[in-house]
């Protein structure tokens, strides 16, 4: 077992009478691609939001590289090294693709706030180059100066990934990255995920699409009714009867 980069310890979270997460324990190993799967309503989004700091758990701890993550604001979480991709791609629709990627690059270099009011944007060639480079890797160079709002959903997803990657995050959280995608786009996303896998970045992917999960995951955890019912390698999970039961009566994975 390598270095544990994210540790979720005994997290409980209830919404009124509904217990969304109970006795949630999870350890994410550095450099691995860790998929979280589970039936609908299992609490995957809640778990992600707790990891991210958007939701404070009722009890329990979330530590990232030894640092407590509970109560941190979104920008602090990002500055700690966690980037995330949303279910619906969150990009800057009014800016160009290049500008979209430059913004995260600035944040990486300058921190949470910098009052560079009077210098010229056209002078920031280092940042511009970095952004171009990433867009090349992702394959969106042709549309450098296009309005991001006019992109297809698949392209928006790739742009969002580019925006995360330019910051070289220690941990990348992907919330159902292929949601709503056609087969073609899904395959392209899988290719992309495999490509960036090589960088050694730790990734947590929440997914419904088993094809995606089994193509890229090193480790799978199954979340059902707010708690982890099984955790292991893809092969271990495939044969696990508890998991089959959780997914509506033993349908084949």
């Amino acid at each position: 077992m390598g270095n544990i980069i994210l540790k979720i310890d005994n997290v409980q979270k209830s919404f009124g009478g509904l217990k969304a997460l109970s006795d949630l324990n999870l350890e994410i190993e550095e450099g691995k691609v860790h998929a979280i799967i589970g039936p609908n309503g299992a609490g995957k989004s809640t778990m992600l939001n707790v990891c991210i700091g958007q939701l404070a758990p009722d009890s329990g701890t979330v530590t990232f590289n030894g640092e407590n993550m509970i109560g941190k604001s979104p920008h602090e979480i990002n500055q700690a090294g966690i980037s995330r991709v949303f279910q619906t791609p969150e990009i800057f629709p009014d800016l160009s693709l290049l500008q979209n990627v430059m913004i995260p690059a600035f944040a990486k270099h300058e921190g949470a706030f910098k009052m560079n009011l009077l210098c010229s944007l056209s002078n920031e060639s280092a940042i511009q180059d970095e952004a171009c480079h990433i867009l090349e890797d992702i394959g969106l160079t042709a549309q450098l100066h296009t309005h991001a709002g006019s992109l297809s959903r698949g392209d928006k997803r790739r742009l969002e990934l580019a925006m995360c990657l330019v910051q070289h995050p220690k941990l990348l959280l992907l919330d159902e990255p292929t949601a709503g995608m056609a087969r073609h786009d899904t395959n392209k996303t899988i290719e992309l995920l495999k490509k960036i896998k090589e960088r050694g970045m730790t990734k947590i992917i929440i997914e419904h699409d088993m094809h995606v999960v089994f193509s890229v995951a090193d480790h799978i955890s199954v979340l059902a009714q707010g708690t982890i019912i099984a955790s292991g390698t893809p092969d271990e999970i495939r044969g696990n009867p508890k998991v089959q039961e959780a997914y509506l009566g033993g349908a084949h994975l």
């Binding site: 969150e90 706030f113 009011l117 010229s120 100066h145």
Partner: protein, 374 residues
């Protein structure tokens, strides 16, 4: 969207400065070349350009900026009364004090966004307005407004000369602030203000503000603490408003609370939107058009209208007068309101959007979708 280059910016600055400085000349044939109106163009131009830095770049709609106009005015008049008739200290204090208040108000109001923010700014503006007419009358002189008096201290002035007969006039190191010289002082300040705004628009800071407007959630999750960015934009626009208020008092040394009414904030919103929110010259265009037509329309009365329609047969002329008379003279505000509605409904991007659309029609079809560069 290609990034604007520094050379491009300098070019725009040059043209802008030339246009502004020669206003007395080219506005004369339009009947608008006289000092009072020219000063108004410059002063409201400063106000609108500053307002656009907040509203145009971040999308935060403030209805409270009239309060900073008021603060700037009152501060300036107090400087004239206590220190000197020279406008430089007055303007410096106006800017600093409104910046300070902007920081306080912004700190509170920016804790929310969207409608809540707008309502909060409205609430503050109303508070200031009410206080100015009631509790703060020692400072503001309530309804009568704050005026200069012969018996004012003017300590700095007294160091150099004795008090003369009658009321002294405001000056910029000897240059009278009334008439054309007054206009030129305002114009130079406008050019500087425009220059600063251009730099902000084209800086990394500016693009980050635009990103906040585009998707604030994403900004936060990208590692940005958006609050100080917004506060900076708010304070800067507040200082611009303070400068405008100070200049209002400098060119006409009277400060009244009616300047702080939120309808004054509404006016600057209209000017910004008419010209084109988020563009550099949009606000200036808006100011020019509104103030120019205000000048014409408010002085029209039924007689003047009859004259205008004199080429028509009498019965038609009378009908035309009845139709158009509610829109002129006292009814200028009606026209303004109607214009506001029409712009927001049909052309929310203002004149600059219209210009952009015309440009697109006439230029060759391009593969990329380009947006306005100014």
């Amino acid at each position: 969207m290609k990034s604007p280059t520094i050379k491009n910016d300098m070019f725009v600055m040059l043209i802008f400065s030339a246009i502004i400085l020669t206003m007395p000349i080219w506005l004369k044939p339009l009947g608008a070349g006289y000092p009072d109106l020219l000063q108004k163009f410059a002063i409201f131009g400063i106000f609108a350009v500053g307002y656009n830095i907040l509203f145009g770049l971040t999308g935060y709609l403030s209805f409270g900026h009239a309060a900073f106009l008021g603060i700037g005015s009152y501060t300036a008049v107090w400087s004239f009364k206590l220190l000197t008739m020279n406008v430089l200290p007055a303007l410096i204090f106006s800017v600093l004090l409104s910046g300070l208040f902007a920081m306080l108000i912004g700190f509170i109001t920016l804790r929310r966004s969207g409608i809540y923010f707008s309502i909060l700014t409205l609430a503050f503006a109303q508070m200031f307005y009410n206080l100015a007419y009631s509790v703060l009358t020692p400072i503001t002189n309530g309804e009568t407004g704050l005026q200069l008096a012969r018996g004012d201290a003017r300590i700095i002035d007294r160091l150099f000369s004795d008090a003369g007969e009658g009321l002294p006039s405001t000056n910029f190191f000897g240059l009278e602030m009334s008439g054309y010289s007054g206009f030129y002082v305002c114009a130079v300040l406008l050019i500087i203000a425009f220059f600063i705004s251009q730099r902000i628009f084209h800086s990394p800071f500016g693009i980050k503000l635009r990103a906040i407007k585009s998707n604030q959630t994403r900004m936060k999750y990208t590692g940005y603490n958006t609050r100080p960015y917004l506060l900076t934009a708010f304070v800067i626009s507040g200082m611009y408003a303070g400068l405008a208020g100070g200049l209002m008092a400098a060119t006409d040394p009277l400060a009244g609370a009616e300047r702080m009414q939120w309808t004054a904030s509404g006016e600057v919103v209209l000017m910004t939107i008419l010209g084109g929110v988020g563009t550099l010259i949009g606000p200036m265009l808006g100011v020019g058009i509104i103030k120019y037509f205000e000048n014409i329309f408010s002085s029209l009365n039924d007689q003047a209208l009859l004259q205008a329609y004199s080429f028509m047969p009498d019965w038609l002329a009378n009908i035309m007068v009845t139709i158009t008379s509610p829109f002129v003279g006292e009814g200028w505000h009606l026209t303004l309101g109607a214009l506001f509605v029409l712009i927001v409904v049909f052309l929310p991007g203002g004149i600059m959007e219209g210009v952009g659309m015309i440009k697109k029609r006439f230029s060759k079809t391009q593969a990329n979708t380009e947006t306005g560069k100014l």
